[in-house]
């Protein structure tokens, strides 16, 4: 705590409240934790909040890639935790928003190398400077997950409407302290399949998990296109998926935005628009 705090500009006497630290987790891999972290973080920052993203997936670093910041990363999480560099040296500023920073994961290290206590202190130090600290958790329920959750005050559970994802999400919720009040994002929903009864609906998923529903994101090609380019889709004003992420950001910020199970993206106008913007 002392070490990190010393790097942070002294807090004004009338101390402002600490920022919120939210771990994004799922148990199962490949359900969209990193994409969610990047997009929600970018949307929060675009709305004017100061946001720090931590990639806690040590050994499988990807958040930098999704954000298109891979070429800017010089130092990583473990460099900071092991005091080789200062926190400010390691924070990568986003290309698009001056409010958004990233602390990348170490690629050539292992999850077990992270000291849980130091990680907690680091998150706390970031909370003094940022309104939101989003922590991208690795898959699994082992040490990597525990480290990611250690400093967090809240949790977002990302779950796909699919049996193994729901079961793992249920397991993870059982492992998190209740004080973290986990909220649910149902990701990669395909409305056409849900309509035919071939996919669990958002209601089905949440009848099992029973969590406050933070948002629903469809399984859209736009997401893959955005990841290809390293541009968060939440910054694309014309994209329905982007708007789903922006809604999630607004709900996190406390706005009352109702969650509707959305229709698939790609009404005629959206398609024509996408065609002319070249987002294919």
């Amino acid at each position: 705590m002392q070490e990190f705090a010393s790097q942070v500009p002294a807090a004004p006497p009338d101390q402002k409240p600490l920022g919120r630290a939210i771990v994004v987790t799922s148990g199962k891999g490949g359900v969209g934790k990193t994409t969610t972290t990047a997009n929600v973080g970018a949307a929060l920052a675009a709305a004017g909040a100061r946001v720090a993203l931590i990639d806690a997936d040590v050994g499988l670093r990807n958040l930098d890639l999704v954000l298109g910041l891979e070429s800017r990363v010089r130092y990583h999480l473990l460099d900071v935790l092991e005091e080789r560099v200062t926190l400010d040296d390691a924070l990568v500023r986003d290309k698009r928003s001056e409010h958004l920073v990233l602390l990348a994961a170490a690629q050539a290290r292992e999850k077990e190398d992270v000291d849980t206590e130091r990680m907690t202190e680091l998150v706390r130090a970031l909370r003094e400077r940022f309104d939101y600290v989003l922590i991208d958790s690795p898959a699994g329920i082992e040490q990597g997950f525990r480290n990611a959750a250690a400093g967090a005050t809240e949790a977002i559970i990302v779950c796909m409407p699919e049996v193994s994802s729901v079961r793992d999400a249920d397991r993870v919720v059982g492992l998190l302290p209740q004080t973290m009040r986990p909220q649910l994002i149902v990701n990669r929903v395909r409305p056409a399949m849900v309509r035919k009864g071939k996919m669990l609906s958002v209601e089905d998923v949440n009848a099992i998990l029973r969590l406050p529903l933070l948002g629903v994101v469809l399984d859209e090609p736009a997401l893959i296109v955005a990841a290809n380019r390293g541009e968060p889709v939440s910054l694309d004003a014309g994209s329905a998926t982007g708007s789903a992420y922006r809604d999630i950001a607004r709900r996190i910020a406390g706005e009352n935005v109702p969650v509707a199970e959305p229709a698939p993206e790609g009404g005629m106008f959206a398609r024509i628009g996408a065609f002319f913007r070249g987002r294919r």
């Binding site: 729901v166 079961r167 249920d170 397991r171 849900v194 071939k198 669990l200 099992i208």
Partner: protein
């Protein structure tokens, strides 16, 4: 139309199957109980209740329901008639003391929340499956039972007078042994589970 025909031939849509499979798998995740154990529980439950009232076995329904923070067991057991007064066994099973003090309502709908504790439940299941040899505390308590022939497990304070073990039928003895082993196992494991703790306590008495 095509969809309808497909559904007709293929049965329920896969989303429905997924839902049902998930419900069951999560139930056993939370309870750590296998279907065999749940069936055995149902059988035991019926055996106990039918000592007091005549139940309609075909209409018995035991389900588990997921709630906000727990899974509850709901037993719906239709009662056909009461047993004649003189056929009623003297209570009390040690297990009965473990139940929440609920009046046996006419519909006999017992409802008891089970804690979400997974490992403890798993231990309990192991204990039932492999009764350890240490059954001593229960054997000591056993003589108390025989005074009331139909009763199976001792009522700690009520019947201090020992009765000859020979008064028991072989079946009763076998049943009692199983229960004793279970009680001992739980005593050994030191169950924190509120439902099971009294069992252990009575075994130590």
């Amino acid at each position: 139309m095509f969809e309808f025909l497909m559904r007709l031939f293929r049965g329920e849509p896969s989303g429905q199957t997924a839902k049902e499979r998930l419900r069951l798998v999560l139930l056993s995740d939370h309870l750590s109980l296998s279907p065999e154990i749940v069936d055995a529980l149902k059988t035991d439950l019926l055996a106990v209740i039918s000592r007091y009232v005549e139940v309609d076995e075909a209409g018995v329904d035991v389900t588990f329901e997921q709630r906000e923070h727990e899974v509850a067991m709901l037993a719906n057991i239709p009662i056909r008639s009461l047993k004649p007064r003189d056929e009623l066994p003297k209570p009390v099973l040690a297990t009965v003391t473990a139940l929440p003090a609920q009046e046996p309502a006419p519909a006999a709908a017992a409802e008891m929340p089970l804690p979400k504790a997974e490992t403890e439940a798993a231990d309990a299941v192991d204990a039932v499956l492999e009764p350890p040899a240490v059954a001593e505390p229960v054997v000591a308590a056993e003589p108390g039972v025989a005074a009331e022939p139909p009763a199976v497990v001792p009522e700690p304070e009520a019947q201090p007078a020992p009765a000859p073990a020979a008064a028991l039928t072989a079946k009763q003895r076998k049943r009692r042994k199983r229960r004793a082993a279970r009680a001992a196992a739980q005593a050994v494991h030191g169950q924190p589970d509120p439902v099971q703790q009294p069992l252990g306590t009575s075994a130590q008495a």
